[in-house]
């Protein structure tokens, strides 16, 4: 009989992502089901409110990719009301977005994903001399002396030996799916700690332009920060120099730490090319060089790829009712016109209707409804969104920077482009993209300085601020590419209030349940066919799910003295 594995965070705290997988006799995943166990409901909260306030509510969907919902929200309101934002506002938004993507990718790689590839305990056995030699052979990064690695290793030993720390007992340390030599593990642990220290510097850019982080301030019509080189309180030369320094340090860290680590680690795993999945990729595009409507100028191109066919990038129009739709045949909602009929978000409905078992439960009936996530589809295709989608679309469109960097990474790893259609490819794409967005930070900084030098200090267009200037009824679409993928906000405004608001987030695309035709979502499809070494320690599942960088509702932080694993694994 087929075995079933359930990977689920502790449900007592609150709902999250849950994966159920069935295995065949040889422990290969036959089917996987992805479930969002919590309802977001922000669409309902937004109804009837002032559209100028929507960003502040929507931004709080997430405290990690904190700026993206504010950006998509102000863009959809501006689209609806026909507001053009000043050049400075466009540049600052782009710079903040590039900052967000860069920081998020770096944090994801080292602090969420690395432990799927790096065995911390193995680092205890490393020879610091060899670790130093390897580190110096792959990068000019200065923190690479024998003494540095020796000191870290001693701290690590002390940490493990202090006894009351359950830290290493609840990991999958020693799992045979780990392939790195102890020295590379030690280097990775060193950079795990360095990246933690460094990431908090990057995000200071958000506090300079947005006042605070998380949840920096946005504004319908522009940005809420004043530019004045002669003022103490505005964005002045001193602040700009601080930003410049952060951008330079970020580029150094990505070039000298992240990219060399990625290539070194990937080299040991290039035989593990599971987790490709759908082969359908979607990006709305982002980083407008002029206006958002002119999507031909986006530095991240818009488009779709089907069936891994890199020779054709298909045009995408998220305003088209026949393209982006959401259905709910396997989701805990009802639609007035039938659950299996896909609705465009401008016609979207949010009527929750839970029909699942009462928690805590062992299983979900996956033939019926089994998720709080709706089922978004593009022209009826399940799509993957995120760094791999964006990199493949840019690669297929011949973007020179992406072509060069992808080529460099592939040649260093001695693999062909087909290796990109995998979990490892997704992880590599995130690194490649991080290098690109660190470059964007420089690009937008230079643009900002050049524009300020012309004497243009404007950051806000107040023409349509007053509701009396608005049409009686209008609708808008706002998009961005969040670190995790395509994000769209669709708004309808009537009598100066929000009539309807629909949000389709990246993780809804990637973690979606099956549709009415039985087509799997991206996670479900990516897990299929993956061999598991030990089903009780489903490292392979976590590896693939993590490679998508799942964005789940904010966890609460109950302090657990027992050190129980947050993620429980059950085999039934």
């Amino acid at each position: 009989m087929a075995k079933k594995i359930v990977v689920d965070p502790i449900p007592r705290i609150e709902g999250h992502l849950r994966i159920e997988a069935t295995l065949n006799e040889s422990n290969v995943i036959e089917e996987a089901y992805s479930t969002g166990t919590m309802w977001r409901g922000i669409e309902v909260i937004l109804k009837g409110r002032d559209p100028r306030d929507a960003w502040a509510f929507a931004e709080r969907i997430c405290g990690v990719c904190t700026t993206v919902h504010a950006l998509a929200s102000v863009r959809c309101v501006e689209d609806a009301l026909g507001i053009t934002i000043p050049t400075n506002a466009r540049i600052i938004r782009n710079l903040m977005n590039a900052t967000q993507v860069t920081q998020d990718h770096l944090v994801h790689f080292y602090h969420l994903h690395a432990l799927d590839w790096v065995d911390v305990v193995s680092a205890l056995k490393a020879d610091p001399k060899q670790a130093s030699a390897i580190a110096q052979s792959i990068s000019p990064w200065p923190k690479s002396s024998v003494g540095y690695f020796k000191d870290l290793q001693q701290r690590l030993v002390g940490f493990v030996e202090s006894g009351q720390l359950g830290i290493f007992s609840n990991g999958y340390w020693g799992h045979p799916a780990y392939k790195l030599p102890p020295e590379v593990n030690l280097i990775a642990v060193a950079h795990y700690l360095e990246a933690l220290d460094f990431q908090k510097e990057i995000i200071k850019i958000h506090t300079i332009f947005g006042g605070k982080n998380p949840h920096p301030n946005y504004l319908v019509g522009g940005m809420a920060c004043a530019i004045d080189p002669n003022s103490d309180t505005a964005i002045n030369i001193e602040r700009l120099m601080m930003i410049k320094k952060i951008i330079d340090d970020t580029n150094t860290f990505i070039d000298q730490v992240y990219i060399p680590d990625l290539i070194a680690i990937a080299g040991y795993y290039k035989g593990w090319l599971h987790g490709g999945g759908l082969g359908n990729y979607l990006s709305y595009g982002d980083f407008p060089e002029t206006s958002l409507a002119d999507f031909k100028t986006l530095l991240w191109p818009r488009g779709a790829i089907l069936n891994k066919d890199l020779s054709t990038v298909i045009d995408v129009d998220p305003r088209d009712a026949a393209q982006v739709t959401e259905e709910v045949s396997h989701s805990w909602y009802t639609y007035s016109g039938g659950d299996s009929k896909g609705l465009h978000p401008w016609k979207g409905e949010t009527t929750p209707s839970y029909t699942g078992p009462k928690p805590p439960f062992e299983h979900l009936d996956t033939d019926k409804k089994y998720s709080w996530l709706k089922t978004p589809r593009w022209k009826n295709h399940a799509m993957e969104v995120g760094p791999l989608a964006r990199v493949l679309i840019a690669y297929a469109k011949g973007d020179p920077m992406i072509k060069d960097t992808v080529g460099l990474v592939l040649s260093k790893l001695e693999v062909g482009p087909e290796a990109l259609f995998s979990t490892l490819g997704r992880t590599a794409a995130r690194g490649i993209e991080c290098k690109q967005t660190a470059g964007f930070m420089r690009h937008y900084y230079d643009q900002l300085i050049a524009n300020i030098k012309t004497g243009d200090y404007r950051t806000f267009n107040s023409e349509r601020w007053e509701p009396s200037t608005w049409p009686e009824e209008c609708k808008g679409f706002g998009y961005t590419e969040a670190p995790r993928g395509a994000l769209g906000h669709w708004i309808q405004i009537k009598d100066q209030k929000i009539k309807e608001y629909q949000i389709v987030v990246p993780s809804t695309w990637n973690a979606s349940p099956r549709d009415a035709n039985g087509n799997s979502g991206a996670y479900e499809s990516a897990l299929k066919g993956t061999p598991m070494i030990n089903p009780e320690q489903p490292l392979e599942i976590l590896r693939t799910v993590h490679s998508f960088d799942p964005c789940l509702a904010c966890a609460s932080h109950l302090f657990d003295m027992n050190g129980k694993e947050i993620t429980s694994v059950k085999i039934v």
Partner: protein, 162 residues
């Protein structure tokens, strides 16, 4: 002993019933005490990774939080320094970077404050609403008082206060 900078941090989600205990305790602490500027009160909310700097940058820290103790009586628990476990969990999402990770990392970095105290109570109700359960509301003053006593103890020992 130097106590130039003492951070008092409240953790939790106010929208989630007793989960918000730490933040409620911090608010009470801030209202009921008049310490010198060297004592900083920080509403840490449900932040994880962003808290690291507040932990690593001070001489002593008090954290108020809802907690799951080893034995589960509903009373105020005070844990000091080495009594605090540090775990680095396997996570599903970056949202799950919690206090235990931060302590683990501060220890690995060799940057733990000299004194680290966790004050907390096991939650009774974890449901989506604002406000503590009657049981936790009753325990709140005691938790705040424990925090106040400890800060005074530190300040009394301090050789130099900026």
């Amino acid at each position: 002993m130097k106590f130039n900078r003492i951070n008092v941090i409240g953790l939790g989600n106010l929208l989630y019933g007793d989960e918000g205990f730490g933040v409620a305790a911090l608010q009470q602490f801030e209202k009921s005490t008049t310490f010198r500027p060297s004592v900083n009160c920080i509403d840490g909310g449900t932040q994880g990774i962003a808290l690291l700097d507040y932990i690593e940058s001070c001489d002593a820290v008090i954290v108020f939080d809802a907690l799951v103790p080893l034995e589960y009586d509903r009373r105020v628990y005070v844990y000091r320094n080495d009594e605090l476990p540090a775990f680095i969990h396997r996570k599903m999402s970056s949202h799950q970077m919690g206090l235990s990770e931060m302590i683990g990392i501060a220890r690995l970095n060799g940057r733990m404050p000299r004194e680290f105290v966790l004050i907390g109570v096991p939650p009774k109700e974890l449901e989506l609403h604002v406000g503590l359960s009657p049981e936790l509301s009753r325990l709140l003053p005691e938790a705040v008082e424990e925090g106040r006593k400890i800060v005074e103890e530190w300040l009394a020992k301090a050789e130099y206060i900026s």
